[in-house]
């Protein structure tokens, strides 16, 4: 069944690529702005053999990874503290609901004012966008602690820290994982956006350069690379999730006893 699905998926992808080849060749769209698949593939091969491409890829991944780590750590710490401290949740709820919907891209002018085209502007946007994803999930997760599990832990003399570590954290972990997966995707979008708009070094900036220098196939090749990155990040995050949550109902499925 899985093999059949993979085969179908491969057929679908092949058909899509063939369509991308045929449509410009048949003159249905302007080949100058929509090059056929083969030319994009050529351009991609060209990029892969260019050192500057790898530097740009490294810059993008650096911004993505540092931003994600900061956002995840801050989101987890803030989420746990807000949830376990009495009254803090109520006190912060309205502020969070106000700040959360602000699109990160609206902060681009601020980032430029503060840091120009440095890595730090990328980080500002990445962290702002992904922090909320994690925070909100952590806060849901902490709410999910089972009162019986909590009472069991208390009756066996587990202190506050031990209960956070052995009860609250494992309970919240599935939510945290979802938050991290969403944050990883959002962080990539924001990293590329920041580079594209602000001109901080990275794949985004390289796409902008390709566009202004009329290197259309190269531009598409770079777009394909960002897409592949997103795909890899999602697959990676899902693998980590499955490993860390092997005990969880969503992963283990129904167990016959």
């Amino acid at each position: 069944m899985r093999g059949a699905n993979a085969l179908l998926g491969a057929c679908g992808l092949a058909a899509f690529l063939a369509l991308g080849e045929a449509v410009p060749r048949l003159g249905l769209v302007d080949e100058e702005y929509f090059p056929p698949t083969s030319r994009i593939a050529d351009a991609l091969a060209g990029e892969l053999s260019d050192d500057a491409f790898w530097t740009a890829l490294g810059d993008t991944l650096t911004g993505w990874a540092i931003g994600l780590v900061i956002a995840v750590s801050a989101g987890i710490v803030a989420g746990v503290l807000i949830s376990v401290t009495p009254y803090l949740r109520e006190a912060t709820a309205s502020t969070i609901e106000f700040l959360r919907p602000i699109p990160s891209v609206a902060l681009i002018p601020l980032a430029v004012l503060l840091y120009g085209t440095e890595l730090r502007s990328v980080l500002l946007l990445v962290v702002y966008a992904s922090f909320w994803q994690v925070l909100v999930q952590v806060m849901y997760g902490v709410q999910d602690v089972d009162p019986v599990a909590e009472e069991t832990a208390r009756s066996y003399g587990l202190g506050t820290w031990a209960r956070v570590r052995h009860v609250l954290w494992p309970t919240a972990l599935p939510y945290v994982m979802t938050g991290v997966r969403l944050a990883a995707a959002v962080a990539l979008i924001l990293a590329v956006t920041a580079e594209l708009v602000i001109g901080a070094p990275g794949l985004g900036a390289r796409i902008a350069v390709a566009q202004t220098s009329q290197a259309v196939p190269e531009m598409y090749a770079l777009v394909v690379v960002t897409g592949l990155l997103g795909l890899l990040i999602n697959v990676g995050a899902r693998t980590v999730e499955r490993r860390a949550l092997a005990w969880h109902q969503s992963v283990r499925g129904e167990v016959a006893v």
């Binding site: 019986v148 009756s155 969880h248």
Partner: protein
């Protein structure tokens, strides 16, 4: 060993005042197995949480070995009814049993020894590496019992521990608890709504009134110490005792104690002290 004196618990909240437990006084001697029965909704769980230090009583006090309970006492373990929620699904059986011992700052070698011993005495040596959710309900409750045993408590509280397992498993687990009690000499307070179970297990049965709760009657179970499911449950004395408890509970529901027609052959224990 366990002294409950004038215990009262009133829940207040959102304009409603519920008196769950009015005035409970009883003692459990060291090494005794006492069952608490009462009509449903009579505040058994409230009582147990107060005894376990998980709830602060409105009035009265609970003493363990002469010391007043203000939080979960270190020499007491609780077995909850909801084993599926009380065991941690993210830990293997061994880790579940070991976790409370880590809080006691025992050495790794001593912890291993206690875990192995506790799992062996509930007959689950082979399941140490499994996750709780890979086990049947009865086995899960055995793990919870092993966790309590490994903690080496002087007092063991059991809150309707077998209410969620099937009848055959329940009979096995009852024998297990009685066997462990006789081997280890732990003081056990066993809360149940099942009258037969209370009479079968207990050395003494405390019958609670309906809410607001007081002790309706204390009954000594004068069955032989060696009990088994087959013979004890059909013994005439067993039938008499269970009938008596049943009548008391029915009376508790109506709110009037029955005129005690069995009083001549039932030796009620005198009130403590």
């Amino acid at each position: 060993m366990l002294d409950v004196r004038g215990l009262k618990k009133v829940y207040e909240g959102s304009g409603r005042r519920v008196e769950a437990v009015r005035d409970l006084t009883f003692t459990v001697d060291a090494g005794e197995l006492v069952c608490l029965v009462g009509p449903s909704g009579c505040g058994k769980t409230t009582l147990l949480k107060c005894v376990g230090g998980l709830l602060t009583p409105t009035a009265g006090e609970v003493l363990i070995g002469g010391r007043r309970v203000t939080g979960p006492p270190p020499d007491m373990a609780v077995v909850f009814q909801e084993y599926g929620r009380s065991l941690f699904p993210w830990m293997r059986v061994r880790e579940n049993v070991e976790l409370p011992l880590k809080q006691k700052k025992l050495t790794a070698a001593r912890r291993r020894e206690l875990v192995a011993d506790a799992l062996a005495s509930v007959g689950l040596m082979d399941a140490a590496g499994a996750y709780p959710w890979q086990l049947s309900g009865g086995m899960q409750q055995r793990v919870a019992i092993a966790r309590a045993l490994a903690y080496e408590p002087r007092v063991l509280l059991m809150d309707e521990p077998f209410a969620a397992v099937d009848a055959q498993t329940r009979a096995d687990l009852e024998d297990l608890v009685r066997g462990l009690w006789r081997q280890r000499g732990i003081t056990i307070l066993f809360v149940t709504h099942d009258i037969d179970e209370a009479v079968y297990l207990g050395e003494r049965v405390l019958i609670l009134s309906s809410s607001p709760t007081v002790v309706q009657e204390q009954l000594k179970v004068d069955l032989p110490a060696d009990r088994d499911q087959l013979h004890t449950r059909v013994a005439p004395r067993f039938a008499e005792l269970r009938t008596h408890v049943y009548e008391q509970i029915q009376a508790a529901k109506r709110g009037t104690p029955v005129a005690d027609r069995l009083v001549k052959d039932l030796t009620d224990t005198p009130p403590p002290q």
